[in-house]
């Protein structure tokens, strides 16, 4: 028999209570996994999206909400002429509720720009030219909207025919509705406006040269911001909001978990007052009793964490297939998130055990045994 045996015995002697506490923690941790997994997945999918499209620098006005504010398309001409820029292309991208799907990325891309070149036609064809009233759907977008070539899709005020279904090699691309910039501007009433200028740089451009370029863009477009593609996600307000929301909701779930474990451990300590008195009478150090209680609550947290990760993983798998999420992001459930979540659960356990442990160590052996 070791202290661990004693700790485990403490948990299994009240299977229902231990079970309910585990359910409580695991729901909290599952929430962490699902929310943070989505937020991270969103970011990761975006990074991959930019990467696949060959975008090195993104120019936008990041003061908007989830999507940046629109600005005048004429800026592209000036920015496109700056040194080290190989190619530039304008985009008007918005998150719109399209028919039954609550949120879809609708991406109006300057005709013949490099962002079209990555798309592979799976079915049908590409639009004939920039002015044709036509759009293509990413594979997942087609599934989510249940549309085939020949159907039409309502974008704001306009009915636009689907002429093709494309594969863009990244979840975000495959989940998007893609059309030419001028059609998008007309449909959304944003004539002459864009909200992103994507730049491809000359190969072998150094970090210093990129920074210099960003500075020059800032001069041309003071309220805008030029960002290296890999930094876009980290600094954009939309991602920051998503991240903050997922963590703050997680924090709530964690607080509920702490209260649950603390309640359980306090009950355990009160219920075992007599036994703790016996332990003190046979010579146990108060420190050992503190360890016993803390190990017990840490183990409770750990088991809850493992159960929560499992639950959260299942939740993510289910969320992944819902129309609202599908095609927008690929949830990220990597070892890092699993490790962090189980870690949080153990910390929750230990923190919740601190007060009960302190209480138990202050018991007077004679009172505890007789009272």
């Amino acid at each position: 028999m070791t202290l661990f045996t004693i700790v485990v015995r403490g948990l299994i002697r009240r299977p229902v209570r231990t079970g309910l506490t585990l359910v409580g923690i695991s729901i909290g941790i599952a929430a962490v996994i699902a929310l943070v997994g989505m937020a991270w997945g969103y970011e990761k999918s975006m990074v991959r999206h930019l990467d696949v499209m060959g975008i090195d620098v993104v120019v936008s006005n990041m003061s908007g909400g989830i999507m940046p504010k629109v600005y005048d398309a004429s800026l592209e001409e000036k920015i496109g002429k700056l040194p080290r820029v190989k190619e530039s292309t304008s985009v008007l991208m918005q998150m719109l509720s399209v028919e039954d799907a609550p949120m879809m990325m609708v991406s109006g891309r300057e005709w013949a720009g490099f962002t079209w070149s990555q798309l592979k036609v799976v079915e049908g064809r590409m639009p004939k030219d920039g002015s044709e009233n036509a759009l293509v759907l990413g594979r997942l977008a087609a599934e989510v909207l249940k549309k085939k070539v020949g159907d039409t899709v309502q974008i704001d005020a306009m009915e636009i025919p689907v002429v093709g279904i494309v594969d863009g090699n990244a979840v975000v691309e495959n989940g998007a509705i893609i059309l030419s910039l001028s059609v998008m501007q007309e449909a959304t009433g944003n004539q002459g406006k864009v909200n992103f200028i994507d730049l491809q740089l000359v190969p072998d451009t150094t970090k210093a040269q990129t920074d210099e370029l960003c500075k020059q863009i800032k001069e041309i477009f003071p309220e805008g911001r030029a960002m290296v593609a890999s930094e876009v996600v980290g600094t954009s307000q939309g991602f920051r909001i998503a991240r903050a929301m997922s963590w703050s909701t997680s924090l709530l779930a964690i607080i509920v978990g702490v209260l649950g474990v603390m309640n359980t451990m306090l009950m355990t300590v009160f219920e075992r007052t007599h036994e703790i008195g016996i332990l003190l009478a046979v010579g146990w150090k108060r420190r050992r009793i503190v360890y016993m209680v803390l190990w017990e609550s840490a183990l409770l947290g750990f088991l809850g964490g493992v159960a929560g990760v499992t639950l959260g993983a299942i939740g993510l798998k289910i969320l992944e297939t819902t129309p609202a999420i599908r095609g927008l992001l690929e949830p990220d459930l990597g070892p890092q998130l699993i490790f962090i979540s189980v870690g949080i659960a153990v910390v929750v356990g230990v923190v919740s055990g601190l007060y009960p442990a302190w209480r138990s160590s202050r018991l007077s052996p004679s009172l505890a045994m007789n009272g």
Binding site: M1, T2, L3, T5, I6, R9, G10, R13, E275, I278, L279, L280, A281, V282, G283, W284, K285, R286, R288, S364, P365, S366, L367, M369
Partner: protein
């Protein structure tokens, strides 16, 4: 009695001078100034009517509660001033209670190992020692039973084995036969006497049973929180 004469010259184990204990801010005075000396190897029976402070005195001796006033030393060291009395409880004394006080969710052999967590034994040594102790109290065949599956006498044997876990030099027993039928009581007393004789432990035993007190080397009689008589043996006329 040669044994008592020998005891009289032995090392002083406990010394109480003017020991007082009150509860509830002075409303209850359990000990009113007890003076007592107990020497190595003695078997001291403490008797007296209910409520006279016997258990309170034993709890002070065992450092389970602090005196309100007075001196209480164990081998020359003040018990109330011990910085960590758990060492004293774990290694110097063994407790045996009327209500057994075993841990219900642990088996017999596990209960006996509980105090050994404060010792230096390895896991397997702890188990080994617990088995030996249980065999010596005649419970070698009950190792993996839970306390609830044992008779009162058997439970008290487990408690005695647990009390001996860390080889204490003193055993403090508070009415160890109080919850037992006369047959079990008799065998528990035999067991305690055997420990006293074979291991040389100092035995302090609270009892209501004068036939038990007769077998002690010394009898301390208490009344209203005071020691009223202290004799090397009870005169035969005192027994019922």
């Amino acid at each position: 009695m040669t044994e008592t004469l020998k005891a009289g010259s032995n090392e002083l184990v406990y010394e109480a001078i003017g020991l007082k204990k009150q509860f509830d801010g002075g409303k209850v005075i359990a000990l009113r100034g007890v003076d007592l000396q107990i020497r190595q190897g003695e078997f001291v029976a403490i008797i007296g009517s209910s409520g006279c402070g016997k258990s309170t005195l034993l709890q002070m001796l065992g450092s389970l509660d602090k005196p309100s006033e007075g001196v209480l030393n164990y081998r020359g060291k003040s018990i109330p001033d011990m910085p960590d009395p758990s060492d004293y409880r774990a290694h110097e004394i063994g407790f045996v209670f009327q209500a057994f006080h075993l841990l219900p969710t642990f088996t017999v052999v596990e209960n006996v190992q509980i105090p050994m967590f404060e010792g230096a034994l390895s896991r397997s040594q702890r188990k080994e020692r617990a088995v030996e102790l249980l065999e010596s109290v005649g419970l070698g065949h009950r190792l993996n039973h839970f306390p609830s599956e044992l008779s009162g006498g058997e439970r008290q044997r487990v408690a005695i084995a647990r009390g001996l876990a860390n080889k204490p030099s003193v055993v403090l027993a508070d009415e160890p036969t109080g919850n037992l039928d006369s047959q079990s009581a008799k065998s528990i007393i035999e067991l305690l006497l055997q420990l006293h004789r074979d291991l040389g432990v100092t035995l302090v035993l609270v009892t209501h049973d004068l036939t038990i007190a007769e077998r002690a080397t010394r009898t301390v009689r208490m009344k209203d929180g005071l020691v009223i008589s202290d004799q090397l043996s009870i005169p035969p006329t005192d027994s019922p």
